[in-house]
Symmetry: C2
Subunit: 327 residues, 2 copies
Amino acid sequence: MKSIAELTEKLLAQDRRALSKSITLVESSRPQDREKALALLDTIMPYTGKSLRLGISGTPGVGKSTFIEAYGQYLIQQGQKIAALTIDPSSKLRGGSILGDKTRMPMLANDPAAYIRPTPSGSLLGGVARRSREVIALCEAAGFDTVMVETVGVGQSETEVANMTDCYLLLLQPASGDTLQGIKRGIMELADIVVVNKADGALLPSARESAGHYMRALSLMPRKMPDWDCPVVLCSSLQKEGLEALDQHIQSFMTQSRDTGHFENKREQQLRYWLEDETIACLIERFKRDPQIRIQFAALENKLTEGKSPAALAADFSNKILNPDIL
Amino acid sequence: MKSIAELTEKLLAQDRRALSKSITLVESSRPQDREKALALLDTIMPYTGKSLRLGISGTPGVGKSTFIEAYGQYLIQQGQKIAALTIDPSSKLRGGSILGDKTRMPMLANDPAAYIRPTPSGSLLGGVARRSREVIALCEAAGFDTVMVETVGVGQSETEVANMTDCYLLLLQPASGDTLQGIKRGIMELADIVVVNKADGALLPSARESAGHYMRALSLMPRKMPDWDCPVVLCSSLQKEGLEALDQHIQSFMTQSRDTGHFENKREQQLRYWLEDETIACLIERFKRDPQIRIQFAALENKLTEGKSPAALAADFSNKILNPDIL
């Protein structure tokens, strides 16, 4: 591999291959790669933070990839460069596919103004890849104006993506009363903007009706940002309709977010979350990998046969190895 | 609160109030309670391990509580004392209900041979309460023959419960082809026995057909225990039918598991998982709570404004505070 200085230089010069290499580097779990990744991240930090970070959430089947394809193309027409961190659905069970997202988003995949990076679900930790924040930073350093982060409708990963983006879109589809009730309150509460996708053809009347239901549901929930009522926007990713209206809502949200200081506070808070999450991840990794700790831990396992409770052994051991007397 | 020695004595004398108090103690997050809980757990460890630990898994609506009620009563008729650690569905969003599980299982709730302990979902960590293993141990010390642990169909919690039980039942319902495909392979792979619930009335033909589908699906999956083909058992919790046949399957499974050494290996492995999970949980807790660490971490947060990457700061900090030079 080329030197980190060279890689950094090319990344900042918006070289796509350098971006791909950088992402592979930060996603690597090899300790020697990690050292290089940290050096890279430290160097590029001053060049990050300028993109709009957009969370794209919704259950499987709601049309997230078609939406990313359509809205991504819309943004490119406006002169933007866009990156999309997507979840590779083909790798859900085991294995994976290299071509998965190329075929899901054929237009973006071939557009020089777009960069798509599929995350194999296998590498997920609590739903979202542990390295997503680092990948966002790399995309920002490589000059992308909007970075979309896809998340797939289950619990913790929703919150994680909301905690690393500026504006959070929840995609829903035209639905009947029963399905409406199945939408978890906790997931709706995260939304800054709700998009009713598939508002076209025979589904249009049902989409309009659903939008009304969603608005009533949202009106009962606490606001995420003062003076911002989460709008419900009808959209057809297939017909490419409603994208301009959606874009205006996103821009209104961002303007208000910046004007009120909400944006700055959130970014600052997110940086602290990142530091805390990553510290915990490092502690766990070190506990699981450090040869000296493993030897000590194996000795501890042997004490289990003496009838000691794991709870007490664990408390004692963790107290001993986590030592706050630093520096 | 009474002394731990007195509580322990009453717990071992199978006093129900002592059991409830003990569970409340181990579930408490107050540091001074934790010390007492560890003393209690250490004392009772020699009296644990004799129960059959049964995992009860299935998505919401499959009839888990009706099943626990029916099979629990069946076991009581055979002379057993049973405990059920259930998930309180009413507390899913926020708040909770004290009476939730009493009304879900009216017969068991009033049976002196049964003990039901609802876990508020709010206290869950990764789906299952962190303290579930400790609660199982307390129930065993209190003399229960079977401890059922309910888990509610999403990802990680399934695996966690499989990792703390001897036999894992997956409850499914009569289903059409589409729904069949929606059942995740990873969840089916965990099952030792599949129960098709609601096999009664108009659903009976569909239940039989589904059982065939499930068996074909299972035949494509790797065995969890050598020479054990996961059976598919029809059952009606409502009509209390199929419970005896199911019980025989569970007994066959346990006999084979014990005879082949599978049981002993699994219990030993589970004890090691417990130790490892609990050590990690203690490390995280200490990192989040220790006043000295919090002061150091706040100083670290201030460095974020200097443009350092959180990744590098976290790696450095975790390396410093996790110190393997013990004893």
